[in-house]
């Protein structure tokens, strides 16, 4: 029971981290209709810039500066790259972001080398805040939860309660009308792209110290972010939140509980053959939940797409 509570907290942290990434991605998708493959690369850039800045000015300045720099870079990419490719259609856009992801990974290796860089959590948060039955909950994790919630609240507020938010929402659905009203729609798009990548960078600065800062970190997270926004329903902010939490908890609980396929099969009355050594089915019998945990989200996505192509948490059509 105690472990259940701890797992809930851990899953929440993982889920909220995913949300910080998927929020930007889903905003960008609803804006341009393109899946930004380079999104996780901006997350990685955030971590690396955060590391570099923290060397000179400390973690807190890094948390502020790195997202600003990355957001600016994102805006530049939109202005001079994506906008140019936009005229060639969605496939070209998607492939452009795909190439960009490769390029960013190479650039990161070019500047910071191929090894892990020692990006540490700030001293002020490097202690166990409380512990549940011997399981320490680091203060840093609680901090992550609060940052993510603040971001969600802030986004929700800006999008629904402010004038800028209204214009953005309108520009997403009726770009021409909004343009006719005298708003600079390309500028709005550029800003949304910049903010989206800056959000990814915030996630990078926060996650870098706990999950490791290395050139493969974008690739490791890249496709799972897609899974999140597809499961949540493309373009839906609240859907992205629910899906992030769902996936966070699924992966956490799958890793925590040792349920094997053999147990399930035995429970429903299928007996395991005694000598498995030469059986072609031996791998099948030895599958455990924690072994397949990290790929469960993909299974979830495929099933979602087959049965509810507009996402699990989306009411009505796209």
């Amino acid at each position: 029971m105690d472990l259940l509570l701890v797992n809930l907290i851990d899953g929440l942290v993982t889920g909220l981290l995913l949300f910080m990434l998927s929020a930007g991605l889903t905003l960008i998708f609803s804006m341009m209709g393109v899946l930004n493959f380079a999104h996780a690369s901006f997350y990685m850039l955030g971590a690396y810039f955060g590391y570099q800045i923290s060397l000179y000015m400390g973690f807190w300045m890094a948390l502020v500066c790195a997202p600003v720099i990355v957001g600016f870079l994102g805006a530049v990419v939109e202005r001079y790259g994506l906008r140019r490719v936009h005229q060639h259609g969605h496939v070209a856009e998607l492939i452009f972001t795909f190439g960009l992801a490769l390029l960013i990974e190479e650039a990161v290796q070019f500047f910071w080398g191929k090894s892990q860089v020692p990006f540490m959590p700030p001293q002020a948060l490097d202690f166990a805040l409380f512990s549940i039955a011997g399981n320490a909950v680091p203060a840093y994790k609680v901090f992550m939860i609060f940052v993510a919630i603040a971001i969600f609240a802030g986004l929700l507020f800006v999008l629904t309660k402010t004038r800028i938010g209204m214009i953005i929402q309108a520009a997403l659905s009726f770009p021409r009308t909004v343009e006719a009203l005298g708003h600079n729609v390309p500028l709005i798009f550029m800003c949304v792209f910049g903010v989206g990548t800056a959000l990814a960078a915030v996630a990078g600065v926060i996650a870098g110290p706990v999950l490791g800062t290395f050139p493969g970190m974008a690739f490791a997270l890249g496709s799972i972010v897609f899974v999140t926004i597809v499961v949540g329903g493309l373009g839906s902010l609240s859907g992205a939140l629910y899906a992030s939490l769902l996936i966070g908890w699924i992966t956490t609980f799958a890793a925590s509980y040792d349920v094997g396929l053999a147990d399930i099969l035995n429970a429903i009355g299928v007996d395991q053959p005694l000598d498995m050594r030469n059986s072609p089915w031996r791998d099948f019998w030895s599958i455990t939940l924690s072994q397949v945990g990290p790929i469960l989200p993909y299974l979830l996505m495929v099933l979602t797409l087959i049965f509810r192509p507009h996402g699990l948490f989306r009411k009505g059509g796209l």
Partner: protein, 429 residues
């Protein structure tokens, strides 16, 4: 004009047949003499790799270019085809089944076809993002399975077999790399021919129609879904053939061949070559294989360069290298292609210098950042110099800037020449 027309119709079918057969004959001849020119084993291995990539890229383009379906997990079909072919090979080895080796890729093809039937049954119901995301998810799932189901896929060690234990075919035992080359070349020619024929069939045409406007295609009485499904399984079949040839060539299949990285690579290759043209993927496969192998041997930054080339291609010539070539068709028709040669040569030099200059800057920066402290000596373009000296930096930056400025200055000339070559001369009729 008028009196030559009947004559044309007389010899038309015959002449047409010869004309359309010419490229195939040339290709066959080229494939035949290539190993005579490049006889080193390593080069032959490289050519084998290229041929396999060509088949795979063409199969992929059946989806992307012709069917408008973007797949992020196509490597699983090639991988599964290869693994199945390896198992067949082992079976032949163990039980002496009377299966001649040249037929082995067919088994890979059927494995790919079968998997495509299963996956296509649900993934082709919709096109666009849904299809792309299902392909990503399925690709990840199968790639993960390849590590979990070790008995079939062999895990990260992979499965291997020996091609030479099969029956000799006309005395050929496939001991040497060149014998394998001819086998692969034959399969290459056959597969390319079949895939080309496919684009000419009503089925292939319908795939294009469904890509461009599924609703209209439905109104014509075709089910967009079934058209996509058939494209998908044919593509899976040829990807499986490529996998079977891969198994033949390397005699090993590892889980790496099914990974997302491979799927991404084939997307890059197809796009680089030009997905709108049948020859696009062929050009892409050849250029990409050469680019990665040759660059990979001379510099540590090859992936950076390949990535840059790719992003520039998407930005500036989204129709790929084939598109770049086809741009010259109007000029060729006008018989004025020759007028472009001189201006091209003129601009080629500064462009080349600028490219090499930029690459040199990257290499020097990389050396300064990553060479051990104290090691200032670096060698580039057959020159040894001090990577920290401002003189070297000055020279390289100066030359590069000069080359870029020259290129910019030459752009109006190129534009004029282009315009000139693509307009009908006033005097002629």
């Amino acid at each position: 004009m008028t009196d030559t027309t009947p004559q044309m119709t007389d010899t038309g079918p015959m002449g047409l047949r010869l004309k359309s057969a010419m490229p195939w004959l040339c290709a066959a001849l080229l494939l035949l003499i290539l190993p005579q020119i490049f006889s080193a084993n390593a080069t032959i291995t490289l050519m084998n790799q290229m041929a396999i990539t060509i088949i795979f890229a063409l199969a992929y383009n059946m989806l992307l270019g012709q069917g408008g379906m973007l797949s992020f997990g196509h490597a699983v079909f090639m991988g599964l085809g290869g693994v199945f072919a390896v198992h067949v090979m082992s079976y032949v080895e163990a039980f002496g089944a009377p299966l001649p080796l040249p037929l082995l890729p067919l088994f890979g093809g059927f494995a790919g076809l079968l998997l495509a039937c299963v996956i296509g049954s649900f993934s082709t119901r919709q096109a666009g993002t849904v299809f792309a995301m299902i392909s990503l998810g399925v690709g990840e799932l199968i790639a993960a399975c390849s590590l979990i189901f070790v008995t079939f896929f062999g895990g990260e060690t992979g499965v291997s077999a020996d091609r030479t234990y099969g029956l000799p075919v006309f005395g050929v035992e496939f001991l040497r790399q060149s014998e394998v080359y001819y086998l692969i070349a034959a399969w290459l020619l056959l597969s390319v021919f079949l895939m080309y024929l496919y684009t000419r069939t009503p089925m292939g045409r319908m795939a294009n129609a469904v890509r461009d406007n599924p609703e209209r295609a439905e109104f014509l009485g075709y089910s967009a879904r079934w058209v996509r499904f058939y494209s998908f399984i044919f593509s899976g079949f040829f990807a499986g053939i490529a996998g079977g040839l891969f198994a033949l060539n390397y005699e090993i299949m590892t889980s790496e061949s099914m990974s997302l990285v491979q799927s991404g690579k084939i997307l890059l290759i197809t796009f680089l070559g030009g997905m709108g043209y049948f020859v696009g993927p062929i050009i892409g496969a050849i250029v990409f294989t050469l680019l990665t192998t040759v660059l990979g041997r001379y510099t540590e930054l090859s992936a950076l360069y390949v990535g840059t080339v790719f992003v520039l291609t998407v930005m500036y010539c989204p129709r790929g290298l084939a598109g770049l070539l086809m741009m010259h068709e109007p000029a060729y028709r006008l018989g004025k292609l020759r007028r472009l040669v001189a201006p091209y040569l003129k601009v080629l030099i500064p462009v080349l210098v600028a490219t090499l200059g930029c690459a040199a800057l990257f290499e020097m920066l990389f050396h300064v950042r990553h060479a051990p402290p104290g090691d200032h000596e670096m060698r580039l373009y057959w020159v040894t110099f001090d990577s920290h000296s401002p003189i070297a930096w000055g020279i390289v930056i100066g030359v590069t800037l000069l080359a870029i400025m020259t290129t910019r200055a030459l752009i109006p000339h190129i534009k004029d020449a282009w315009h000139d070559a693509n307009t009908i001369d006033k005097g002629a009729s």
